[in-house]
């Protein structure tokens, strides 16, 4: 897998997974990282989005999901609060909404009851080592990574 395709988590070397975004020379940040920033600026570093609070911009529950995807599948677009010093375009991510286990915490797998979210809710990322079954769909399993971050409401 190329560096460009390892674009969300960087914990595959055994370290703690990070929610990786790219920072560019003009100060803008994007998730996922791109070769250059939205204004053409050079990529100069990374930002771990786990360090920022996120709010739900919108959400949906999909009941007709493709092969290898949990059903139903609740998804949200989340916008991160990057602080007063940031004046670039909004930094957002799309992700699944986590399910809760018997203890009320975010479940590792696809079992459990779905957390409810609404527009404007504060959420935080929770790591999942497999978001979708690799190889069940049309995409070549080795062409990308399959772990990443779901979101759960902040109580």
């Amino acid at each position: 897998m190329s560096d460009h395709e390892s674009d969300e988590t960087s914990g595959s070397d055994g370290g703690e997974p990070t929610f990786e975004a790219a920072e560019y020379a003009d100060g803008t940040v994007t998730h996922p990282p791109h070769t250059v920033g939205p204004n053409g600026a050079e990529r100069v570093g990374t930002v771990d989005l786990r360090e920022y609070a996120g709010r739900v911009v919108t959400w949906t529950t999909s009941t007709a999901t493709p092969p290898g995807v949990r059903e139903p599948n609740t998804l949200a677009i989340v916008e991160f609060e990057m602080g007063d010093g940031y004046d670039g375009p909004p930094v957002r991510a799309l992700g699944q909404i986590a399910k809760r286990d018997e203890t009320g915490d975010a479940a590792d797998g696809d079992g459990g009851e779905q957390f409810d979210v609404e527009i404007g809710d504060r959420v935080e990322p929770v790591y999942a080592d497999e978001l979708r079954e690799p190889g069940a769909g049309i995409r070549e399993p080795d062409s990308q990574d399959w772990d990443g971050f779901r979101f759960r409401p902040v109580e």
Binding site: P32, T60, I77, R92, Q144
Partner: protein, 386 residues
């Protein structure tokens, strides 16, 4: 740059067909050649708009196959893939071939064979256009529509029923289209009671999976009357293509399709018109919410006001700006590579006065073909010759 005319047009019946992609393309291509009164070997260029014949049925190399089936050798051929906007991109390529002087006679055939796949499989083929960070979360094009519809309804205080009225209108229009997949009306209660697919959108907010093909024949405007002596041709007065971000959540305003804004700006400027000059439009209503977004981003209505136009009947067939007189993708069907070609087919019929029971008063028409979730867009403006 030479002005380009369309002198022949055809489309197959859309729906569940026994024919495979080669046969569908040949059916539409032969009919368009016949409509223009030419033979395959008269063509200089032959383009095929198709998203995924290799993925859907294991058939690649379709332009060369079509050239052979229509005895069009030695015409130059190329396949145009721009996902759901392959048809519009094909119109752009065909226009470019004639406008540049590279070809004196070009045919474009768009087609797709999809219905032999399950909904889940077809959805996954289409979703394969998404970025890896989207794909691994199981996002689909319908789920993008659900995400955007919720935000639109919330931001603009639009009632859920207004989306349902798009489906009702387009099904009503499709009744009079002999090529449409669904030629039956649906009432608002049926739409609103149908199963949820991507909350808040329900089954009737979505276009079906479809087989079908459509074709157009292009030549320089000065010789159009050689092919259409009765003046039954149309002129491409404006055309523009544009892209937006690949990753949908990176757009500044998720309810604005920048590719629609930019491509229509180019097309309007080339045509020397503005949105108020458009008499009829075919928009890419793969999902009901897209008709609102495009009607606003094309400048027909203010941002956040597109839903009111539907509520007030402005976009009905007998309204001030009829939208999707063909039934749209919603009722007519959406065979990916064919859809953008079929949109221009409908506008061609409207501006040449040949739309039968769907006919509206139209000198100038517009087609907006969208790929992905607004990722790639072609906007085409046609004017009748008379």
């Amino acid at each position: 740059m030479e002005r380009v005319a369309i002198v022949g047009a055809s489309m197959t019946r859309f729906g569940q067909r026994d024919a495979w992609v080669r046969e569908l393309l040949a059916e539409a291509g032969a009919a368009a050649l016949d409509d223009a009164g030419v033979d395959g070997d008269d063509l200089d260029h032959l383009y095929v708009s198709n998203m995924a014949s290799g993925e859907f049925e294991g058939q690649t190399g379709v332009p060369n196959a079509l050239a052979h089936d229509l005895a069009a050798q030695p015409a130059y051929t190329a396949r145009i893939d721009q996902t759901s906007s392959s048809g519009g991109a094909g119109v752009y390529a065909a226009w470019q071939s004639v406008a540049s002087g590279a070809s004196d006679l070009t045919m474009l055939v768009g087609g797709e064979k999809m219905t032999h796949r399950t909904t889940a499989e077809a959805t996954d083929v289409i979703a394969s256009l998404t970025h890896p960070v989207e794909y691994k979360h199981g996002v689909t094009l319908p789920s993008f529509a659900g995400l955007t519809a919720r935000l639109y309804l919330d931001e603009y205080d639009a009632p859920r029923e207004s989306l349902g009225k798009v489906a009702v209108k387009n099904h009503e229009n499709g009744v009079d289209n002999p090529h449409a997949q669904f030629r039956k009306e649906v009432d608002l209660d049926t739409v609103l009671d149908s199963p949820i697919v991507a909350d808040p959108l329900r089954l009737y907010d979505f276009c079906p999976i479809t087989d079908g093909s459509a074709a157009l024949v292009f030549c320089p405007e000065p010789v159009a009357e050689e092919y259409a002596p009765d003046g039954s041709y149309a002129v491409i007065s404006g055309i523009g293509g544009a892209t937006d971000t690949h990753v949908v959540h990176e757009r500044a305003d998720p309810t604005t399709m920048g590719g629609v804004v930019d491509s229509s700006d180019i097309a309007y400027e080339m045509a020397g018109i503005g949105p108020d000059d458009v008499d009829v439009a075919e928009l890419h209503d793969m999902f009901t919410i897209l008709e609102f977004l495009q009607s606003e981003d094309l400048g027909f209505f203010e941002k956040g006001e597109g839903w009111k136009a539907v509520e007030e009947g402005v976009t009905d067939r007998d309204g001030d700006l009829p939208i999707n007189t063909s039934g749209g993708l919603k009722s007519k069907g959406h065979p990916l590579g064919a859809s953008g070609v079929a949109q221009v087919y409908e506008i061609f019929k409207q501006v040449t006065g040949d739309a039968g029971p769907r006919q509206v008063e139209a000198d100038t028409g517009l087609a907006c073909n969208v790929g992905g979730f607004g990722n790639c867009v072609t906007t085409t403006v046609l004017e009748g010759s008379q």
